[in-house]
C-alpha cells in the first residue's frame, strides 16, 4: 500500500471521528416533558427548550424573581413551553437586562430535581420595526 493511501485512510477515519463527536455533542430542542424524562433516565446531557414567559391580566410576568441585593447570582422564572407546560427555571447568573421585553426565550440546561437549571439564556426580542414605527410616526405629528 502506498503511503498516500495510508494517509487517506487515516484522514477518513479522523473525519468520521469528527462527525461522530459532533453528533455526540449536538444538543436537541425538547419540551419540558421530554427534558424531565431524560433527567429521570439519568441522562444529564444539556438540552434546548423554547418557550414564552407567562403574563397575567395586567401584562406582568408571572413567577419571575430576581433580588440582586440578596443574591446577585440567583434568577428564577417560569417558562411555558410550546406544549403549554409551565416549569420553574433557575439561572445562577444575573438577570439578563432585556429579559422582560423578550417575546421568545430559548434556554439550555437540564432538569435537576424539580427545577430546570439553565446555563444559557437566548432571548428573541420582538421585531425591531414595530416599536420604531410608532415612535417615528408620533414624533412627526
Amino acid at each position: 500500500m502506498k503511503k498516500t493511501h495510508l494517509l487517506a485512510l487515516v484522514v477518513i477515519a479522523l473525519a468520521i471521528g469528527i462527525v461522530m463527536a459532533t453528533a455526540g455533542d449536538a444538543s436537541v430542542y425538547v419540551s419540558f416533558k421530554e427534558a424531565k424524562e431524560l433527567a429521570a433516565d439519568g441522562d444529564l446531557r444539556k438540552v434546548h427548550v423554547v418557550g414564552r414567559l407567562p403574563h397575567d391580566a395586567g401584562n406582568n410576568i408571572v413567577g419571575m424573581q430576581y433580588n440582586p441585593t440578596l443574591d446577585p447570582n440567583y434568577f428564577t422564572f417560569v417558562l411555558v413551553d410550546t406544549n403549554r407546560v409551565h416549569q420553574q427555571v433557575v439561572y445562577f447568573n444575573p438577570k439578563p437586562q432585556d429579559f422582560e421585553k423578550s417575546e421568545q426565550v430559548v434556554i439550555t440546561g437540564n432538569m435537576r430535581n424539580d427545577v430546570f437549571v439553565a446555563d444559557k439564556i437566548l432571548l428573541k426580542c420582538p421585531s425591531k420595526y414595530v416599536e420604531n414605527e410608532v415612535k417615528g410616526a408620533t414624533a412627526a405629528r
Binding site: K3, I18, A21, T22, D25, V30, F92, N132, E133
Partner: protein
C-alpha cells in the same frame, strides 16, 4: 430624478456592465490558447469592466451622500444612521446593512479587478471572465428589481414609504420624512468596526483571485503556470483575512461581554473555516512550486476556499442561522438567490475540476519521512480537518432547514457547551499545526538523512522539553491543574516557537529575505500559547462568597461569578478591594469621563447637559458652572476602583452600559486593565436601569431654622445657610424671578460630606417652582418645599430610594499579550513573504536544481 433614482440607475448600469464585461472576456478567451485572446472581445470586456467600476463608485458615493445628508426618506439612512452620529461612524453605518456590505465587497473586487487588468497579462481574459461573473452575481444581490412576482436583490435606495407602506402616518401625510434615524447599533460604534469589516471583505475579495486563476487554468488547460501568481495572491489573502479575523476577535474582547475574544459563533466560524482552507491551499501551492507535488490538492483547496466564502455568505445572510447566532444579518428574503448562486458556483467549479482531474500532473516519486514536503502536506491536512470539524458543527442549523424542506422535522441543536465542543478538537489541530510547522521548517532548508535530522532536531527538542517542564512546574506551583491536552499544546507550541526561531536565526545569517515563513509560524505558535494561557487559565476573580441564601436548594457546586458592589462600599474580590464610586458620562470635548452628578440634564435634548460645577481634568478647566455642553447619553460608565490588597496600588476601570432599545435593553461592555503578563477584564452584569424613574419614598418633611440638624434615616445633616441661587443648573431664570437655594451638608459614611442645594423659585407671576437636589451616593433627594420669612423657618422634603449598586463580573486573562503579539508576527510574516516573492525573479527549474539550498520560503 432624485438622488436615490440616480443611485438605483447606477446599480443597474453596474449590473449590466458586469454582464457585458463577463461576456466580452468569456468570448475573448473562448477556444483560444492562453495569451491569444481575441482583441475585439477583449476590448469589450475591458470597457464593460471600466463602466462597471465607475458605476459602482457612483453607487457608493450616492449611498454615502444619502447617509451623510441625513436623508431619512431613504430606508437605509433611517435604519442605520442618525443625526448625532459622528462622521467616522457614518462610514461604518455604510456597511452595517446587508446591501452596504455587499457594496464593500463589490468595491474591493473592482479594485482587484483593475489591478489584474494591468498585471495579469496573458491571464487577463479568462481570469477577468471569472471576476466579472462573480461581480454580476454580487451586483444582482443589490439590484432591487422585480420581474413579475420575482424579487431580485434588495436595493439600498429603497424609500421609507416603499419599505413600510403600511405606516399610519403615510395616510395622513404621504410626504412624511422621519426627523431622525434609528442610529447605528451602539456596539458597532467602535473604531475597530471602522476598519474590521473592510479588512475582512478585502480578505474575502482576495480569495477570488487565486480561485479565478485556478478556474482559468482548468479552462485553458494551463494546469501549472497559474501557481506562481496564485501563491502571491493567496499570501495576500491569508494575511489580510487572518488579520481581519483577529481584529474582529479584538473588537469582541473589547466591546462584547461574553468574557473573551472568540465565542464560536457561527458568524465567526463562517470566516474562520475558509481561512484555514486558504492557508492549507497556500501550503499546497508552495509544495508544487518547490517539490512538484500536491498540485491536485492545491487545485481542490483553492477552489474550496472560494466556495466556502460563498457558503459563509449564505450562512450569515440567508437567515438560516436564526436563533443560533447573535450577530448575523437580518433576513432580506434573498436566501433563494443565495442558494442558487452557491449551487451554480459549486457545480461549475467542481465540474471543471472533475473534467481536468486526470490531466493534473502528479508526482511520481514517493515521499519519505525525510522529505519536508510530507510534513507540510500532513500539516495542510490537519488544517483541513480542523476546518471540516468547524464546518460540520456550524452547519447544524442548515441540516434542520434542509430536512425541513422535505417535510421532516428535525430538532437538532448546536452543542450546549460550544466552547468545550470546539476546544476538544481544535486544540489537537493546534497541537498538529505547532509540531508540524516546526518539523517542516527545520527540514525545509537542508538535505535530510538520518544523521542531519537528528543533528537539527536535538537542540530544539531538548530546549522544548526543558522549557515545558519548567512551565509545568511553575503552573503547578501556582496551584493550577494541567491536563494532558494542555501539556500537549504547551509542549508543541513551545517546539513550534523554538524550532522556527532557531531556523529564523540561521536564515538571518544567510539571507534575511527568505524568513517570512519562519516568522509567521513563530507568530502562530505564540498565538496558540497565548490562547492556551488566556482561555485555558482565565480566572474569574469576582467569585461570590456571600449570598448563600438560595444555594441550599442546589447541592451541586454552582459557579457564582458575580458580585454586588454598593456605591462607595469597598468589597473584597480576589486580591483586590473594589469600590464602585458612581456613574459617569462621556463628554466628547473633555478627555476624561465626567461624573453624572456634575451634569444637569437639559429638558427635551438628551444630548445636552448643563455643568453644575467646574469640570476640569488635572489643572485644565474645560467648563464652568452653568455652561451647556454636549454629552453622549446612551453610554453610562461605572467607575470602579481596584486596590490591590498587598501592594496597595490602585487603578480605575470604567465598564460601560449602553441603553439600546433595538437590542432590547442595556448592553454591557467591559473595561480592561492591561498588565504585561495579564489583563483584568470586567463588566457590569446588571445595574439599576438608568432610564427608569427611580422609586422614591414619600417625602418626609422637616421644618427647621438655620444651623439646625436634620436626622435622616441613616445619616444626619446640618442646614447651613440659605442664599440666592445663581442661574445655574438650567433654571432658566427670567427678570424678576427670585430663586433661593438651601445649603445642607449631609454626613455620609466614613465622614464623607455632601453639599445639597435644593432650589426654591418664585417666578415673576407668582408661580412657585422647586428644583430638588439628589445625592446618588446615599440615595437621598431633598427639596426646599417652603420658606417662612417671618419666622426664618425652612421646610425641606426628604425622600429616599434604594442605594445605587452595580453587579460586576471580573476575570483575569493571563498572558493574553502572547496572542496579540503572535497575531502581529503572523501578519508581519505574511508581509515578508509577499515582499520576497515580489522581488525574487522566477527561479528557472534548472537553476533551482543546481543550488538546492536556494529554495522558496515555506
Amino acid at each position: 430624478m432624485s438622488i436615490g433614482d440616480w443611485g438605483h440607475l447606477s446599480v443597474i448600469v453596474a449590473f449590466v456592465a458586469a454582464v457585458v464585461s463577463a461576456l466580452g472576456y468569456y468570448m475573448a478567451a473562448r477556444g483560444r490558447a492562453l495569451g491569444e485572446a481575441d482583441t475585439a472581445w477583449l476590448k469589450l470586456g475591458r470597457g464593460g469592466f471600466a463602466v462597471h467600476s465607475l458605476a459602482v463608485i457612483g453607487v457608493i458615493v450616492t449611498l454615502f451622500g444619502i447617509i451623510y445628508g441625513h436623508r431619512y426618506e431613504y430606508y437605509y439612512a433611517w435604519s442605520h444612521s442618525s443625526n448625532h452620529l459622528p462622521v467616522h461612524y457614518m462610514i461604518s453605518c455604510f456597511w452595517e446593512g446587508q446591501e452596504g456590505s455587499f457594496l464593500l465587497w463589490i468595491f474591493w473586487h473592482v479594485l482587484l479587478g483593475a489591478a489584474l487588468m494591468r498585471m495579469a497579462r496573458q491571464w487577463e481574459a479568462p481570469v477577468m471572465a471569472v471576476f466579472a461573473g462573480v461581480q454580476l452575481f454580487l451586483m444582482s444581490m443589490i439590484l432591487g428589481v422585480t420581474v413579475g412576482s420575482l424579487k431580485i436583490g434588495s436595493s439600498p435606495f429603497i424609500l421609507m414609504r416603499e419599505f413600510m407602506p403600511d405606516l399610519p402616518v403615510y395616510k395622513l401625510n404621504p410626504d412624511w420624512v422621519p426627523q431622525d434615524g434609528k442610529g447605528l447599533n451602539a456596539l458597532l460604534q467602535n473604531y475597530w468596526m471602522v476598519i474590521h469589516p473592510p479588512t475582512l471583505f478585502l480578505g474575502f475579495a482576495l480569495t477570488l483571485v487565486p480561485f479565478a486563476y485556478a478556474i482559468a487554468g482548468l479552462w485553458k488547460g494551463e494546469l501549472t503556470k497559474w501557481v506562481q501568481p496564485a501563491i502571491r495572491w493567496s499570501l495576500w489573502g491569508g494575511g489580510v483575512l487572518g488579520i481581519g479575523i483577529m481584529m474582529g476577535a479584538y473588537w469582541a474582547y473589547e466591546t462584547l461581554n461574553f468574557g473573551g475574544y472568540w465565542n464560536w459563533d457561527p458568524v465567526e466560524n463562517a470566516v474562520y473555516i475558509p481561512w484555514l482552507v486558504l492557508v492549507a491551499g497556500l501550503h499546497a501551492l508552495v509544495l508544487w512550486q518547490r517539490g512538484r507535488t500536491g498540485l491536485r490538492t492545491a487545485f481542490a483547496l483553492v477552489v474550496a476556499t472560494f466556495l466556502l466564502v460563498l457558503y459563509a455568505t449564505f450562512l450569515t445572510r440567508s437567515g438560516v442561522l436564526g436563533n443560533a447566532s447573535v450577530h448575523s444579518f437580518t433576513d432580506l428574503g434573498l436566501s433563494g438567490q443565495l442558494i442558487l448562486y452557491l449551487a451554480a458556483f459549486v457545480v461549475l467549479s467542481i465540474g471543471m475540476l472533475v473534467w481536468r482531474w486526470k490531466s493534473i500532473p502528479v508526482s511520481e516519486k514517493e515521499l519519505t519521512m525525510y522529505n519536508p514536503e510530507l510534513w507540510v502536506f500532513i500539516g495542510a491536512t490537519v488544517l483541513c480537518l480542523g476546518a471540516f470539524q468547524v464546518l460540520v458543527t456550524t452547519s447544524i442549523p442548515v441540516y434542520n432547514a434542509f430536512v425541513g424542506f422535505f417535510g421532516v422535522k428535525s430538532n437538532l441543536a448546536l452543542p450546549a457547551d460550544q466552547i468545550a465542543h470546539y476546544t476538544k478538537i481544535q486544540l489537537w489541530m493546534g497541537v498538529g499545526v505547532a509540531v508540524l510547522s516546526g518539523i517542516a521548517q527545520l527540514m525545509w532548508w537542508q538535505k535530510n538523512d538520518k544523521e542531519s535530522v537528528s543533528n537539527t532536531f536535538t537542540i530544539p527538542a531538548m530546549l522544548t522539553l526543558l522549557g515545558a517542564a519548567l512551565v509545568i512546574l511553575l503552573v503547578r506551583q501556582n496551584g493550577h491543574q494541567m491536563t494532558l491536552p494542555y501539556i500537549a499544546l504547551l509542549t508543541t507550541g513551545l517546539f513550534g516557537v523554538l524550532a522556527n526561531l532557531g531556523m529564523l536565526l540561521q536564515l538571518l545569517r544567510r539571507k534575511v529575505r527568505i524568513s517570512g515563513g519562519a516568522v509567521s509560524h513563530i507568530g502562530v505558535a505564540l498565538m496558540l500559547l497565548g490562547i492556551l494561557a488566556s482561555a485555558g487559565y482565565s480566572n474569574i476573580i469576582s467569585k461570590n462568597t456571600s449570598g448563600l441564601l438560595y444555594s441550599r436548594e442546589m447541592p451541586e457546586e454552582i459557579n457564582r461569578d458575580n458580585v454586588l458592589l454598593w456605591r462607595n462600599d469597598a468589597t473584597k474580590m480576589g486580591p483586590y478591594e473594589l469600590t464602585y464610586t458612581g456613574q459617569y458620562f462621556d463628554v466628547p470635548s473633555v478627555p476624561e469621563y465626567v461624573n453624572k452628578e456634575l451634569l444637569f440634564p437639559v429638558m427635551n435634548d438628551e444630548y445636552k447637559a448643563v455643568a453644575r460645577g467646574e469640570i476640569k481634568v488635572g489643572d485644565k478647566s474645560y467648563y464652568k458652572a452653568g455652561d451647556t455642553l454636549e454629552i453622549r447619553p446612551e453610554d453610562t460608565y461605572y467607575r470602579v476602583v481596584y486596590k490591590h490588597k498587598d501592594s496597595g496600588e490602585d487603578f480605575v476601570l470604567f465598564p460601560r452600559a449602553q441603553v439600546n432599545e433595538e437590542m432590547g435593553g442595556l448592553l454591557a461592555s467591559p473595561d480592561i486593565k492591561l498588565f504585561w503578563d495579564h489583563d483584568i477584564y470586567s463588566h457590569v452584569s446588571s445595574v439599576p436601569d438608568p432610564t427608569k424613574e427611580k422609586d422614591w419614598s414619600e417625602a418626609k418633611e422637616f421644618t427647621v431654622s438655620m444651623n439646625d440638624t436634620l436626622f435622616l434615616n441613616d445619616y444626619f445633616a446640618v442646614f447651613k445657610n440659605a442664599e440666592p441661587a445663581h442661574n445655574t443648573a438650567g433654571l432658566g431664570l427670567g427678570k424678576g424671578d427670585i430663586a433661593v437655594q438651601g445649603d445642607i451638608i449631609v454626613y455620609g459614611e466614613k465622614g464623607r460630606q455632601y453639599h445639597v442645594h435644593p432650589v426654591f423659585v418664585v417666578r415673576n407671576g407668582g408661580m412657585v417652582g422647586r428644583v430638588p437636589d439628589e445625592i446618588e451616593d446615599l440615595g437621598l433627594r431633598i427639596t426646599l418645599d417652603n420658606i417662612d420669612p417671618q419666622k426664618g423657618k425652612f421646610t425641606f422634603g426628604v425622600s429616599t430610594t434604594q442605594k445605587d449598586y452595580v453587579i460586576l463580573k471580573a476575570m483575569e486573562k493571563p498572558f493574553i499579550n502572547l496572542l496579540w503579539s503572535g497575531t502581529l508576527l503572523m501578519g508581519f510574516g505574511f508581509a515578508l513573504a509577499i515582499y520576497q516573492r515580489g522581488r525574487k525573479p522566477k527561479p528557472a527549474p534548472a537553476v533551482a536544481k543546481a543550488s538546492k539550498k536556494q529554495v522558496q520560503a515555506a
